[in-house]
């Protein structure tokens, strides 16, 4: 569910990259389906169709240091948003369930 695609200008897209979303022209017609592996010939034709940028699947492995930093940032932000709620307060069960779910949504289950 985290960002696994990159938006690139057409000039930076290389043959072999995989399209992450359906590609439409300005009339809403489908040019290429999601998951299509782009070839040099396709890229030339996209240029003719007036496509300027597109979303490709990002398969570069995430940088662990960056991932950890993002995780910390998410947890810290959730702490700020929920600062009026005490996790130890049993009366506040609904807010604490919501906090648990949002934490799981942002950083995955193990931290929740």
């Amino acid at each position: 569910m985290t960002g696994t695609y990159r938006h690139l200008p057409l000039a930076k897209v290389e043959p072999g990259m995989v399209l992450s979303d359906e590609l439409l022209d300005k009339h809403g017609q489908v040019l290429l389906p999601a998951g299509a592996q782009l070839t040099e010939r396709m890229l030339e034709r996209l240029h003719d169709h007036g496509i300027e940028s597109l979303a490709v699947v990002d398969d570069t492995p995430p940088d662990p240091a960056q991932t950890a930093a993002e995780r910390e940032a998410h947890l810290a932000r959730i702490g700020v948003l929920f600062r009026r709620h005490d996790p130890a307060n049993g009366e506040d069960s609904a807010a604490n369930t919501l906090r648990k779910l949002v934490t799981e949504f942002r950083v995955g289950k193990e931290a929740a």
């Binding site: 009026r84 506040d92 609904a94 807010a95």
Partner: protein, 281 residues
């Protein structure tokens, strides 16, 4: 500290508020009439080009997943039904209705982004609990409308509310009660009365902070939880935002599982971005 306001002070000033386009007032007032002449209605709305354009863009957003692009109000009614179209027209009209007033510290964009996010989330929630999605969307969009009433009628006093809230790091509701002696729930009710909102909508606005009160209604519970989810997801990214209190009664009433909530978060984020682009344009 300034003098405290009463409900009557708010009501007295309602006439100075910007009015909705006549056709939208007509729609709101005819909420219980099923037999409204659709052809006449479509024609009236079409006279307002900006309103028509906004309504059609909403109708064509992925919110409804239509297979065809609708290009006229009449077509929207054919494909989405009268109720949905009516709600879209209202949404498109209301978001353009309150102009920026001079109230230092009040961010109109932020206000509407929160309202739109709550509307999107309430609609998704309603689908999961099999409640009327159009009601949920509109109630979500209008739940805090009382804040706009207060900001528009008492801009200087409301600036004090914002200052108080910043200083004490408290909920807006608490700041309003402390500074004004009246809160946005009461002001919202006054407007709902003035604009002839349906009873369902009135109850939802009245109960969105206290959905556990007997008689608050299920829609109040939906809007209450949607409001909390939107704050928790940080969709508006207001730096000092606070997750409001969440009523365990409302939470239980919805009776949704963990997986459903995770789906709901994702769906809300996606729909929020799309609707915000249309309504905030």
């Amino acid at each position: 500290m300034s003098e405290q306001l009463s409900y009557d002070d708010v009501v007295k000033n309602l006439d100075d508020l910007p009015s909705l386009p006549a056709v939208v007032m007509e729609l709101l007032n005819s909420v219980d009439q099923e037999e409204i002449d659709i052809a006449v209605l479509a024609k009236k709305v079409s006279h307002d080009q900006a309103l028509t354009a906004k309504t059609l863009r909403l109708a064509n957003s992925s919110l409804f997943g239509l297979q065809v692009k609708v290009t006229t109000i009449q077509q929207a009614i054919t494909f989405l039904g009268f109720q949905s179209t009516r709600n879209l027209i209202t949404a498109a009209a209301v978001t353009g209705c309150f102009a920026d007033k001079l109230c230092p510290g009040f961010d109109h964009g932020q206000f509407w982004r929160h309202s739109i996010a709550t509307a999107a989330c309430a609609k998704v929630l309603a689908r999961h609990v099999r409640f009327n999605q159009d009601y949920a969307f509109t109630a979500g969009l209008l739940h805090d409308i009382g804040r706009l009433v207060l900001v528009s009628t008492f801009p200087e006093l409301y600036a004090e509310v914002i200052a108080y809230q910043k200083e004490n790091d408290c909920y807006t509701l608490e700041a309003e009660r402390a500074v004004l002696g009246i809160d946005h729930v009461e002001a919202g009710l006054a407007l709902a009365e003035h604009w002839n909102f349906s009873d369902t909508m009135r109850l939802a606005i009245a109960g969105h902070h206290e959905p556990g009160t007997p008689g608050a209604g299920f829609l109040a519970a939906i809007v209450h939880v949607a409001d909390a989810v939107v704050h928790a997801l940080d969709l508006v990214q207001k730096p000092d935002d606070l997750v409001p209190s969440v009523s365990p009664i409302a939470w239980k009433a919805l009776n949704l599982g963990e997986d459903t909530f995770l789906h709901l978060f994702r769906e809300t984020e996606l729909q929020y971005e799309e609707i915000a682009m249309v309504l905030m344009a």
